[in-house]
Amino acid sequence: MSRLAKMVYAGFFLIAVFTAMPILADTGAYGVGTPATAEEIAGWDIDIRPDGLGLPPGSGSVEDGEMLYEEKCASCHGSFGEGVGRYPVLAGGEGTLTDARPERTVGSYWPYASTLWDYIHRAMPFPQPQSLTDEEVYAITAYVLYLNDLVEDDFVLTADNLASVEMPNRDGFFFDDRPDTRNTGCMKDCKDPASIEITSEPSIATLQEDESGAVIEDVVAEGGQKVYQQACQMCHEAGVAGSPMTGDKAAWATRIEQGRDKLVSSAIEGIGIMPPKGGQSQLSDEEVASAVDFLIQRATKE
């Protein structure tokens, strides 16, 4: 058979195959989009359900979790899950849900342990989401459960036993049943004017311009600010884990005395609990230096 004849033959063969296939089952009405392969789906499909559906094989112990938690979680959530600054409290609060100031924690409020695994894997640690291995997620999840007195210190969490961890507030939720109020829309003499009392009013003065009409904000080292927001702000804005707070002149003065080069090298290499480049290893040395300049500027401006 000539090459041309072969090609024609192959062409007819393909047409025959395609026309024989049930086209409706293979494409939708618009035929738009590319089939998602099993491999592609596996790479992105990260969700876990209360019944354990979605959990990868693996396990992690409370013991292993303790070290990982201290290293990766405690700077924001506190060594005992008590929370640092405004970062979330993870443990405690049992029996407070009816209090005037309820404390909603993993132990006091969350209905399912699967949510913990899902969220730690999905979004934690805050500055480096999805950097943990599955084993590390099992271990840290086990440790947070332990911090809430939900498992013993020799507990090992696995794909098989996570769904059976019973959370105290499991039955504390109900489906939306609103509307739960009924205002009649009264138009006239709806209440006794004498009964009206002001029960609260903010004491801060009304929003108004200052004399110049100017809003006080300095022109900043622009590139440095972006890097700062990305890599440094999370800890330095609130002074997490003893870090010098942005703009805190006293805290920065002694550091600035050591010279810019020292500050830049500390920022690049890491110092104390701060990881190299604030954990953002993709940043160039120059970018880190620009963030240092921004921090120096904030600490020295009038």
Partner: protein, 440 residues
Amino acid sequence: MFSKPGSGPAVLRKVTQEASKVDPAKRRDFLKKGLVVAGGAIAGVQFASTLHASQNNLPPNLPEWSKSLGAGVITNPYGQPSPFEGDIVRRTVPWLTADRIAAISFTPLAELDGIITPSGLVFERYHAGVPAINPDEYRLMLHGLVERPLIFTIDDLRRFPSTTAINFLECPANGGMEWRAAQMDALQFTHGMISCCEWTGVLLSTLLEEVGVKPEAKWILAEGADGAHMSRSIPLEKALDDTLIVYAQNGEPLRPEQGYPVRIFNPGWEGNTSVKWLRRLEVGDEPWYHREETSKYTDLLADGRARKFSYIQEGNSVVTFPCPERPLKQKGRYELEGLAWSGNGKIKRVDVSFDGGVNWRQARLKGLVLPKALTRFSLDFTWDGSPALIQSRSTDETGYVQPTFTQLREARGTSSIYHKNAIHTWRLHADGTVTNVQIS
């Protein structure tokens, strides 16, 4: 006429404490405004502040700008607001969140007209900051209980028939700082977690038809591509109704802050279900109970139980003039204005009271009255210099009447955080200033 409020709420002391941590120059500003300006538009404000009204530009003189040439075309290839309006910006309340990456900013409602929020002023809510997504590398995966799992590019999504709708977008925590007491001193902070835009995209029902949903399907998980991988379970019923997969906002591609290049949008529902930077939709038979639908965005009641999947933003309203940012400067005739909205449909009527809810007058609805959209209302009134307690009360097309704070607290207590839609009270003082109050 009115009794004095008791000692300020504890959170105010916190505001003051926070303010004391910042340097004196900023502190002055902080104490005055109870806020710090969240970047942007600073140059404009400084520009405006260096100018002062000159008699030379007023009648009978010919103004400066009438005797010279102005800037030519594409001086600003993408136009910006007048530099004189540089104070109309989003603002944040620093003590609300631990940092500015998982944080919120507020829309300046007092300075806006009509019902459309300019894209640059739509309130922001991030759980892990704004990701920078290259549209050529963007993909939306739709899989799970479907016949044909598919991956879509932006070009793919734009090949489907498009739908455009004007809808509000509101964070369920809007006003959540006020459950226990009035503590925010500006409309921007009491109600600014809302905006209203024109959204364009493809109906999710169209995409679901394209992949073929299996009969056992009941729920859909929406997941973001940001570092938080924000995820919410959405009932299939909603997804087949009016849920949009959005790629355009107010006529242009979505803003990065709003989910560029693609977000899901659930009209009338709490904003967090409209997951931004959408990367994945999975069809399933049960909800996932992820962090943002258990730990957060559930409504804790006084008895210790909590409402879950409380998606709908119920009927609400607020007076936008007068308000703390826009006091009355003299006696005389005015047009009171406000905004009303309901996640259950159209606004049917709005009533306004000047005496703290004793007597009410029906306001008129202005311009477009659309379902699940901001609706503007107004009422003419003459101010004789008397103090007043100004309130507005919306009724939607289902007959739902916005509740009083007393009714809402009776039903839910004060720990709900979310879905505070009570009738709001502005206290108009004899000098024309306006403060935020709560009344019995």
